[in-house]
């Protein structure tokens, strides 16, 4: 799993047809070095205080995000805001179980997000499959497919638990402990192999930049 050298070969994009291949990018994700110590500390503070969530309800846990956004729990107080497009979002909240069909879309959205990007696994289903552990249609361990920064357990966790999770994530970002983007780039082949084992009809580029 831990191959430190970055492979610079081009991606094959075998899922695409012959004439479509030149239209898509075949570059691999790159890992990034942090800037100077104090600059990075300041930027991490800004990143922690402005977390934009990708508003994509991936499972039943997405329903917990609505009370979080509205008047009762008001997540805007902590600098959290929903964002409708993956390009601008920084935090991907995986809302519970992940079916094979959503996994494909989630990979696509995750790869379109610009780094540094963070993933929150919400609910027990993201840890070990939860009540869907033997389902034919869901995956069990999310961190085989995406680098997860923090898990929030429960079925379902209440908005208070989510707030605690977000605050923990903020502490981790401020301390510089979140490195999901680089982890994904370093272990790209391992993640891709796992993803392709689940998603059979892979009709998209290998890396959706």
């Amino acid at each position: 799993m831990d191959n430190k050298e970055i492979n610079n070969t081009k991606l094959a994009n075998e899922g695409l047809s012959e004439q479509d291949r030149p239209l898509f990018c075949d570059a691999r994700p790159q890992s990034y070095k942090p800037l100077g110590k104090y600059v990075e500390k300041f930027l991490n503070w800004a990143r922690a205080n402005s977390l934009w969530i990708l508003g994509y309800g991936t499972g039943c846990g997405a329903i917990e995000l609505r009370p979080l956004m509205t008047a009762r729990f008001d997540m805007f107080r902590w600098g959290l805001a929903p964002r409708p497009t993956p390009r601008q979002a920084g935090v991907f909240v995986i809302g519970g179980y992940m079916s094979v069909k959503t996994l494909k879309r989630v990979i696509r959205s995750y790869e379109q997000m610009q780094g540094p990007k963070f993933v929150i696994g919400l609910g027990s289903c993201t840890i070990n499959g939860g009540m869907y552990w033997d389902s034919y249609n869901t995956i069990n361990r999310l961190d085989h497919y995406l680098p997860v920064d923090i898990y929030i357990t429960g079925c379902m966790p209440r908005p208070e638990a989510l707030i605690a999770g977000f605050n923990k994530l903020k502490e981790m970002i401020k301390a510089g402990e979140t490195d999901g983007q680089n982890e994904y780039a370093r272990n790209f082949d391992w993640y891709k192999a796992n993803q392709k084992k689940i998603v059979k009809d892979w009709n998209m580029p290998d890396y959706n930049w």
């Binding site: 990034y32 930027l43 805007f76 107080r77 601008q88």
Partner: protein, 305 residues
């Protein structure tokens, strides 16, 4: 300007920075006010500034082509161009900005220019929501420019000049010499048009959240988005300063400027917090109806009565 080129550049830089920061803080205050209307606490008022730092600190960004790259550049050029030809504080050498005989026309052009550049850039990103947002934005802009242009024609007839600084100078000397009292019809037409320019509810059809997620900037990210957000603060304050100068007697010191731009912006925010969004054709018909008639009346009254 009587001082040298170098000093002028430094003054312009100071003026731009102060205006941008005040514009962003106004945006934060707007978020707070809307949150209170929802019964929430809302984000801190400096949240837009943190967002900009965060977006510029993103490690990756991708481009969809040359126009995509130039879109935010045109936008901020439009914002800076608009701002630098409006006297931010009348009579101040630092915040007086630049001025020449026909700068009102140039400012009106610059208000259009940024949006056109953005339309080209967002068009190249290829996202369908961008195209929908651009189509809505350009048609709504054409509609709200009409009452505003009529109102400006009325002002030009009234003051006999196209220079914003001269228009402000003519309004000095007491409350009753403001255009608000000397030409109320033009002020009303322009204020309605300002609501369209600010693009808050009910005229938020371009960046319509929950509808076409965020319209033209859907594909913009990282430092492109940082540039667009910086421009949002600057362009906002440029429009408010223009209206303050044309209709509300301008500002002779920084406290008056802050008060007047704040109140003008709060008008937009209160309307925005009270009304839902128009549909596209409702918004365009609205501007082409009563506000345009008021604008025509303003021209007729000032020219013939």
């Amino acid at each position: 300007m009587e001082h040298g080129l170098f000093i002028s550049i430094i003054y312009a830089f100071i003026s731009l920075s102060v205006a941008t920061i005040w514009g962003l803080l106004l945006g934060g205050i707007a978020l707070k006010v809307v949150a209170r209307a929802h019964g929430r606490f809302g984000p801190p008022v400096w949240q837009p500034i943190i967002d900009i730092i965060k977006n510029n600190a993103r490690r990756t960004s991708i481009s969809h082509g040359i126009m995509y790259f130039l879109g935010p550049v045109f936008r901020i050029a439009g914002g800076m161009g608009t701002f630098l030809f409006i006297p931010f504080i009348f009579g101040s050498s630092v915040f007086g900005n630049f001025s020449f005989a026909g700068d009102l026309f140039l400012v009106m052009y610059f208000i259009f220019f940024g949006q056109l550049g953005m339309a080209l850039g967002a068009g190249e990103s290829g996202h369908p929501y961008s195209a929908i947002g651009v189509a809505r934005g350009l048609s709504q802009m054409t509609a709200f420019e009409l009452p505003f242009a009529l109102s400006v024609i009325s002002l030009v007839i009234q003051y006999g000049t196209l220079n914003i600084t001269s228009i402000v100078a003519a309004q000095q000397g007491g409350l009753l010499s403001w255009t608000l009292f000397t030409n109320p019809l033009a002020t009303i037409a322009a204020l309605i048009s300002l609501q369209g320019m600010n693009m808050h509810n009910p005229f938020s059809i371009v960046i319509a959240p929950q509808e076409i997620p965020i319209g033209p900037p859907t594909e913009y990210h990282s430092n492109f988005l940082g540039l667009l957000q910086t421009n949002r603060g600057l362009f906002n304050i440029a429009k408010l300063a223009l209206f303050m100068n044309l209709y509300f007697g301008g500002a002779t010191n920084i406290a008056v400027m802050i008060l007047k731009t704040f109140l003008l912006y709060m008008l937009t925010i209160f309307i925005g917090a009270s009304f839902p969004r128009f549909r596209t054709e409702q918004s365009i018909r609205f501007f082409l109806g009563v506000p345009t008639v008021i604008g025509i009346l303003a021209v007729i009254v000032i020219a013939y009565l």
